[in-house]
């Protein structure tokens, strides 16, 4: 067991994946000598060479489009999009091509591509560096979308994403890159990439979150415990496919559900979860599904981001609303 930051855990996962499979390539802006703006690819070009770890020209559509061609040639590309807000130039290649080629070819052409995206806010950045675009991709059939929340999961999930023969959007909570956790770097992943995890058992209400909000929910649960409220926290991990059985099992126990995400509420992951859970557990729940989300506004200048982002207080406030039903 070692204590690693999330960034370092992801770095280790990339290293292991590249050692295991010579077809794995890393490509993106500034990932070579610089090692990526968050240092997630630090040292990898030096060890694996410029053929396998290479800097691309500055064009996200080009990154994804050429990755598609490399995949057709038999490679397993791992693309880095430097920041969430810069993924949009690649959006057409991702949804019109990457997501559809397997179905278009009736399974004859596979797209074993992983697209790594640092996402979320809380880092005091300028515009376009604090986005949460995951819903645009979860809504697109043919893509798989996951988000890690901690170093151990980051280490396991990234390896699994790279090994998957389906295209995976891999969201990394950038505000958590420097937070540390225990990682068993020699162990094989112990759970499926597509399963959610109950990270804190509880009985009064379920908090479902992913990525950066998992820690926020755990902190909220700790605070709630001091007030005599016992909250269960579920880390979704996989946004698409959704591990509905784990969420349903939790809500069957607690009868109340609050979904928390940084992304705007309108048509976000919370809306999908609310619809599905309500359809299954309508007669068993004590309260409707409630959501704590970013507002339906563009992400504000960073001096206002603390008010924009769901925090411990807003989560507990919404738990209180649920308990009041």
């Amino acid at each position: 067991m070692t204590v690693l930051t999330l960034a370092k855990a992801l770095n280790e996962a990339l290293r292991t994946s590249m050692e295991r499979d010579p077809k794995v390539l890393l490509m993106g802006e500034d990932i070579g000598k610089l090692g990526g703006v968050f240092r997630v690819t630090d040292g990898l070009q030096k060890d694996f060479g410029e053929d396998r770890v290479f800097d691309t020209p500055l064009a996200e559509s080009g990154i994804v489009g050429t990755a598609i061609g490399l995949a057709i040639r038999g490679y397993r590309p791992v693309c880095e999009i430097q920041f969430d807000g810069f993924i949009y130039p690649a959006y057409d290649q991702i949804v019109s091509q990457l997501a559809k080629i397997h179905a278009r070819s009736k399974g004859l052409v596979r797209m074993p591509i992983t697209i790594r995206v640092p996402f979320g806010g809380g880092i005091g950045a300028v515009e376009h560096h604090s986005e949460s675009p995951e819903a645009y991709f979860a809504h697109t059939a043919g893509l798989k979308v996951v988000a890690c929340s901690n170093p151990a999961d980051g280490h396991a999930m990234l390896q699994q994403a790279i090994a998957s023969d389906d295209p995976v959007m891999f969201f990394e909570p950038k505000r958590r890159y420097w937070e540390k956790g225990e990682v068993d770097t020699s162990a094989a992943p112990s759970s499926s990439l597509w399963s959610a995890a109950v990270v804190r058992p509880g009985s009064d209400a379920t908090l479902v979150a992913y990525g950066p909000m998992v820690k926020t929910c755990l902190d909220a649960a700790t605070a709630a415990a001091e007030e005599g409220r016992d909250l269960e926290v579920v880390d979704l991990r996989s946004l698409s496919p959704l591990d509905l059985p784990t969420v349903l099992a939790s809500v069957r126990r607690t009868k109340r559900l609050v979904v928390v995400h940084e992304a705007p509420g309108y048509l976000g992951m919370g809306a999908e979860i609310a619809a599905r859970v309500t359809e299954e557990l309508y007669y068993e729940m004590e309260a409707p599904v409630l959501r704590v989300t970013g507002f339906d506004t563009p992400y504000p200048p960073s001096r206002s981001e603390e008010e924009y982002l769901p925090d411990l207080d807003r989560v507990l406030h919404t738990v209180d609303r649920s308990l009041a039903y």
């Binding site: 559509s61 489009g65 490399l70 057709i72 397997h102 278009r104 070819s105 004859l108």
Partner: protein
């Protein structure tokens, strides 16, 4: 190297600039062999006949498919009428391993790569998205989003480099990306040029400038002749007479060989004309003059090859009759095959979305199957 050319002054392709002074041509519209200092072909008599055969059969497929659409058997058809030489010439220059990335109009290249024309009809009928095996045929599925495939081709070419399959004339591989004059404005196409230049990737960019992007003339897409844009990206550009199958073949083969030998990309602009409509949903009478069509008829790609076969006495008296009969047989086969095409099973849409099916999608399929069977039960 030459300076960039003058801006394109005329939007009327019927104005006889003829493609400009740098147009590579080996066969005039009248069927006379033309000498060019940089390009030539060394073909046997049989190869001449085979090229003409390809042109005739490709045109016949196209005409039959257009008729089938008019008769309601296809939802739509994108005709290549007039562009046969550009596609057959470049298509026959490809080695078997060279991977082609088409748009949605390269039925002539599909023919050269051995893709059954019925597969193409299936796509335009709505029965499938193509259905051939791209890896087996080394011919990608049709890409309908304009220009996207140029990036795929470039990435594939980068893969060839990483495999070390560049630098040896015997074993080197190359890639070709097809796109049109309209596509040359797309960001993805320009990004592909950037990438191909930066990595010196073994990809040939084959632009069929057929003078029109639906109703938009090429002059709206570019200020300078398209082949000259390559210079700005750092690699050679050449304009070839796209109605000359010999020149199209020669120029493409040289570019492919340059690529497989490690010299990087070339932009080929095949100067040709879209004799038909953009698709069967289009009405060109709304935006172009019939005088233009008449001018380009005089440059027909098939007529000049037929002419050279006569001039150089490369055919016997049976040849054209037999070829016509073969074309009729082919047309009858694809007509029959099209009419007999079955619709896909509606539940099939749930399959192959992923390599690893998800539980939610499997459940959704099962629910829909139950719903559909409810109709059966009441029959």
């Amino acid at each position: 190297m030459t300076v960039a050319g003058r801006p394109t002054t005329s939007s009327d392709p019927a104005v006889p600039d003829g493609g400009g002074a740098e147009l590579v041509q080996l066969l005039s519209p009248e069927g006379e062999r033309v000498h060019h200092p940089d390009y030539d072909v060394d073909l046997t008599d049989e190869e001449y006949r085979e090229l003409y055969r390809d042109l005739v059969l490709v045109r016949r497929i196209d005409i039959e498919a257009t008729a089938l659409q008019r008769q309601g058997e296809l939802g739509i058809w994108a005709a290549l009428l007039g562009q046969e030489a550009a596609q057959v010439g470049s298509g026959r220059a490809l080695r078997e391993k060279d991977f082609a990335f088409p748009t949605y109009r390269e039925h002539g290249v599909a023919w050269c790569k051995g893709v059954d024309p019925l597969k193409l009809l299936g796509l335009f009928r709505g029965a499938s998205n193509g259905g051939w095996d791209p890896q087996e045929k080394r011919f990608n599925l049709y890409t309908i989003v304009i220009g996207s495939q140029t990036l795929h081709a470039t990435g594939y070419a980068m893969g060839i480099q990483k495999d070390g399959a560049v630098g040896d004339m015997a074993t080197g591989e190359a890639t070709i990306a097809y796109f049109g004059d309209g596509a040359s404005s797309q960001g993805d196409v320009n990004e592909a040029f950037v990438w191909a230049g930066a990595y010196s990737a073994p990809v040939v960019f084959f632009c069929q400038n057929n003078q029109w992007g639906i109703s938009t003339p090429t002059a709206t897409q570019t200020r300078i002749p398209l082949y000259q844009r390559a210079r700005g990206f750092g690699f050679p550009g050449v304009r070839v007479d796209g109605n000359d199958v010999l020149a199209s073949y020669a120029v493409t083969r040289k570019a492919l060989d340059d690529a497989r030998m490690g010299q990087g990309p070339t932009l080929i602009e095949a100067f040709t004309y879209r004799m038909g409509a953009h698709t069967t949903s289009d009405d060109p009478t709304r935006y172009r003059l019939s005088s233009e069509l008449e001018a380009w008829k005089l440059k027909d790609p098939l007529e000049r090859m037929k002419s050279v076969l006569y001039r150089q006495q490369l055919v016997d008296s049976d040849f054209f009759g037999q070829l016509e009969a073969d074309a009729d047989t082919l047309a009858a086969r694809i007509r029959k095959g099209c009419l007999e095409m079955t619709d896909p099973d509606p539940l099939a849409m749930f399959d192959d979305v992923y390599v690893e099916q998800t539980q939610l999608l499997a459940d959704e399929k099962a629910q829909f199957a139950t719903y559909l069977s409810g109709f059966e039960a009441h029959r």
